[in-house]
């Protein structure tokens, strides 16, 4: 196996607010291999975006990375000088965001915003940059790319804007593309098209993709491996097929139970797990999921589980695990 292109080790990112310290990311570790497609999934507010922003050191005040390492090809981004991080941003690691309309500058032409991504890292003439921008727009399948480069974001449709964002991300042929909820703001049909595009681009360009979403269905459409996050931590990880077939953490299991059916177009009514994610200023003692867990045992109230092997290449942080929980329930019913 090749060396990982990105290694996140025990990452901690916190927000120092008036109400207290929000432990948004609390000891997250994972590896990403070249060309891999990795999903990060979890309810809203569990720290996915902050994890992604930490990787590019884009966390805003009052937030700070307070611990851990983010090794990009062996060098730690956390301790790197600012200028070096800027070199990595957009060149080695690119990022696209949830709302393509608000993520594009309304007063600058789309083509210009793509060219700018290249000019930030390479000395090229305006003409070359322009033709490359057209080429990129074609690559993300925007029709009439030659004239579209001259358009402003408000003249694009939602799906096209996200395509333009992806084009911008790919401008410098990065080794990693982080896509934070890239389809959440889009219609169901457009969602599928964007996922297909990402899948194709991953095969064409061998760019590793980290796909962040709250929707298990989206993960299934693109990723080989998935991390499940809850309350600032990874609670389960493994190959997508394995996790879908045999989830071991009760939280993962609940997420899978609540995948929206394809015929339901109310796209955001996905996660119907009872209760709310915990307050990250004062997370619950013991297992953080225990207030909402229907399989909890005595131990869950005071003992905090860490990731344990639960299957081939699969880890979960749970004292019970679904295998035992379901067996137990079966016994009780019998």
């Amino acid at each position: 196996m090749t060396a990982p292109v990105l290694q996140v080790k025990d990452l901690k990112t916190q927000f120092f607010t008036d109400d207290g310290v929000v432990k948004a990311v609390d000891g997250v570790s994972f590896d990403l291999h070249p060309g891999e497609t990795l999903g990060i999934v979890g309810e809203s507010g569990c720290g996915k975006s902050v994890t992604a922003l930490s990787i590019l050191r884009l966390v805003q005040e009052p937030g700070r990375i307070t611990g851990g390492q983010i090794l990009f090809k062996g060098t730690d981004i956390v301790t790197m000088p600012g200028d070096d991080v800027r070199d990595i941003r957009g060149k080695d690691i690119a990022m696209i965001f949830q709302d393509p309309l608000s993520s594009l500058n309304p007063v600058l032409k789309v083509g210009y915003q793509i060219e700018e991504a290249m000019e930030a890292h390479t000395k090229i003439s305006g003409k070359v940059a322009l033709s490359r921008a057209v080429q990129l727009l074609k690559q993300v399948r925007i029709p009439a790319a030659e004239s579209r480069v001259e358009d402003y974001p408000h003249q694009f449709s939602g799906g096209m804007r996200q395509r333009a964002m992806i084009a911008m991300g790919l401008a410098n042929k990065p080794s990693i593309l982080i896509a934070d909820e890239p389809t959440t703001a889009l219609d169901v049909t457009v969602q599928a098209q964007i996922l297909e595009l990402l899948r194709d681009l991953n095969e064409e360009t061998k760019t590793a993709i980290i796909l962040i979403t709250h929707n298990m269905g989206v993960v299934a459409g693109l990723c080989k491996r998935v991390l499940v996050m809850y309350a600032g931590r990874i609670v389960e990880q493994g190959p997508v097929e394995q996790i879908f077939k045999d989830p071991q953490h009760p939280y993962t299991w609940s997420l899978l139970q609540s995948i929206p059916r394809l015929d339901a177009d109310r796209k955001d009514r996905l996660l119907s797990i009872e209760g709310l994610p915990p307050d990250l200023i004062k997370p619950p003692r013991g297992c953080r999921f225990h207030p909402r867990c229907q399989f909890r045992i005595e131990r869950c109230f005071h003992d905090d589980p860490t990731l344990m092997d639960v299957g081939p290449d699969q880890e979960a942080a749970c004292w019970v695990t679904m295998r035992r929980a379901l067996a137990r329930d079966g016994e009780a019913r019998a």
């Binding site: 590019l56 884009l58 805003q60 800027r86 070199d87 990595i88 941003r89 957009g90 060149k91 690119a94 990022m95 965001f97 709302d99 608000s102 993520s103 594009l104 500058n105 309304p106 007063v107 600058l108 700018e116 991504a117 930030a120 890292h121 402003y152 408000h154 964002m165 911008m168």
Partner: protein, 319 residues
């Protein structure tokens, strides 16, 4: 360059401005005819026949309505009539000259206002919650809490009195203009006094608008591309932050106009503002009406300019 639609838009707006100017001057026309006192009060000794001739010359022997009709007939031809005090002096050329003087000072003040205000505002926003920010914010509250005549007094004291004494009469600021147009040095102080309170308002607005913009997703996108902070601020944030700032250019123009009434009197600047106060005190109604007409035009044109600026800054806005 200009599309047909843009030309039509421009034409409509210009007609509207002219119409507003006529409406404003009409209101003022009837307003000032309510004023107590008369421009001929000082002419008591004048003999009745001569007074009658004067009254006839100014159509003051006609009914108010007939006077108004004559007034409107004049104004659509750009003729604002004659001064009541300095008989025989036609008002339009007089006010045109004075307007150019006021414009000279006002435009300098406006440029200074916007320049200083934006620089202060941007710095405060970038250095949010540092002492630089607090200093800039405090300066701005102090700035718009100082009436322009207070600033003017302090400036006169500093440059016309203390500087004079300190340099033994070599360096000083000469209050009061000799020619029609002041020297660049003479324009600076009144422009500063006129603009500083508004610069503070622009600074506050720019700061708020900048902070808002710096929170936007597209600023994060720009950073994620690896652009330097300087480029992110200049290219991505500033232009968007300008949009709400442009909005106050209209009120700003009004503020500079009203402010100039005070400042021109303090510095002895022969502009519209000085003329306005003088003619009000001497009951020269025709000139008062004329000054208001000029102001209505100026405000209308400033607002048109603002709307045009919007289209330049924000491609989403098209008329």
């Amino acid at each position: 360059m200009l599309s047909r639609r843009a030309l039509i838009f421009l034409g409509e707006r210009l007609v509207l401005i002219a119409f507003t100017a006529v409406a404003v001057s009409s209101i003022v026309f009837f307003g000032v005819h309510q004023l107590p006192g008369s421009a001929f009060l000082s002419d008591r000794r004048i003999d009745p026949a001569a007074l009658a001739a004067i009254m006839h010359h100014y159509h003051l022997d006609l009914s108010l309505w007939d006077q108004y009709k004559l007034f409107v007939a004049g104004i659509v031809h750009g003729n604002l009539g004659e001064s009541l005090v300095n008989r025989g002096i036609p008002i339009t050329p007089l006010l045109l000259r004075e307007a150019s003087v006021s414009l000279e000072v006002g435009a300098t003040a406006l440029i200074f206002t916007i320049g200083l205000g934006m620089v202060l505002g941007v710095i405060a926003a970038i250095k949010q919650n540092t002492w630089v920010d607090y200093l800039a914010t405090a300066t701005s509250v102090i700035g718009y809490s100082m009436p322009n005549f207070v600033i003017a007094s302090v400036l006169v004291l500093l440059f016309a009195v203390y500087l004079y004494n300190w340099s033994g009469g070599v360096l000083y600021y000469e209050v009061g203009w000799e020619g029609t147009y002041g020297t660049p040095g003479q324009i600076l102080l009144p422009a500063f006094a006129l603009g500083f309170p508004y610069a503070s308002i622009v600074a506050r607005l720019t700061r708020a608008s900048m902070l808002e913009v710096l929170r936007q997703d597209y600023v994060r996108t720009a950073k994620a591309k690896g652009l330097s902070d300087r480029i992110v601020i200049i290219r991505h944030a500033l232009r968007n932050a300008l949009i709400p700032v442009v909005t106050i250019l209209g009120p700003l123009t009004i503020g500079i106009i009203t402010g100039s009434v005070v400042i021109e009197n303090i510095f002895g600047i022969p502009g519209l503002g000085k003329e306005f106060v003088q003619s009000i005190l001497s009951r020269d109604y025709n000139i008062v009406i004329g000054v208001f007409t000029f102001y209505a035009l100026a405000i209308g044109l400033a607002n048109l300019l603002v709307d045009l600026l919007y289209t330049v800054i924000d491609p989403r806005i098209r008329y």
